[in-house]
Symmetry: C2
Subunit: 132 residues, 2 copies
């Protein structure tokens, strides 16, 4: 198979995995610190099953790594550069005129939160509580 076809196919798959808001948010949250499924569920305000499913998609493409710790499963990025690379893609977002203000101010906010230099990882810190 011609290599261009192989590679464009693989890239397309990668982009497919990234083409969901929840999965992007998971990746950005994981850049800050390792998190359990329950913690992500809470942060993203989604059901447990949903969090698990989206993590499974990321896992199946080796973008995140799971690490069991007691009854919790912590996730971290296989390659933290992924989160940075995604942020670099922000410049290619070209909203339509009417949304320009709203979206570009949102981008600025997000760059401060997701884009700033990272705190030293507290990877094994367990959140105190976790409901449902």
């Amino acid at each position: 198979m011609p290599y261009r076809v192989v590679v464009s196919g693989e890239l397309a798959k990668l982009f497919g995995v990234l083409s969901h808001p929840i999965r992007i948010r998971i990746i950005e949250e994981l850049q800050q610190e390792d998190l359990t499924v329950g913690a992500l569920r809470e942060i993203l305000d989604i059901s447990h099953a949903a969090a698990s499913q989206q993590l499974a998609v990321l896992r199946s493409h080796h973008l995140v790594i799971e690490k069991r710790q007691g009854r919790n499963v912590f996730y971290h990025l296989h390659n933290p550069a992924l989160a940075k690379w995604i942020m670099a893609g922000l410049v290619f977002i070209l909203p339509d005129r009417r949304e320009v203000d709203q979206i570009s101010s949102a981008i600025k906010n997000v760059q401060e939160v997701w884009g700033k230099d990272l705190k030293p990882k507290k990877s094994t810190t367990v959140k105190k509580s976790q409901s449902t």
Copy 2:
């Protein structure tokens, strides 16, 4: 709307647009030189309508710009950095064991072709002939 939601949604849309092999190949081909629909059709070996449709997707997200010239319509990248950014995503492709060799050699090949320094653009050069 919380800005994280806005931005992750916009990014997801962008990734969605890029999650098709043909569209990726179009972007990489356009990095080398501006091309007409017919030229792309030929290079990618797809139908004329298919080329036009995929270009419409890219156009609707402002990733490519059309410029009419006589009876041809030339396309170019709105932001050539897009092609480079996509190539930078290659490092996040983590194939399964069995495909590792095939895919990583394909990636190497592609990096030579799509990743090398660009020739000065001959943007308005019209291809001599064009069948079908």
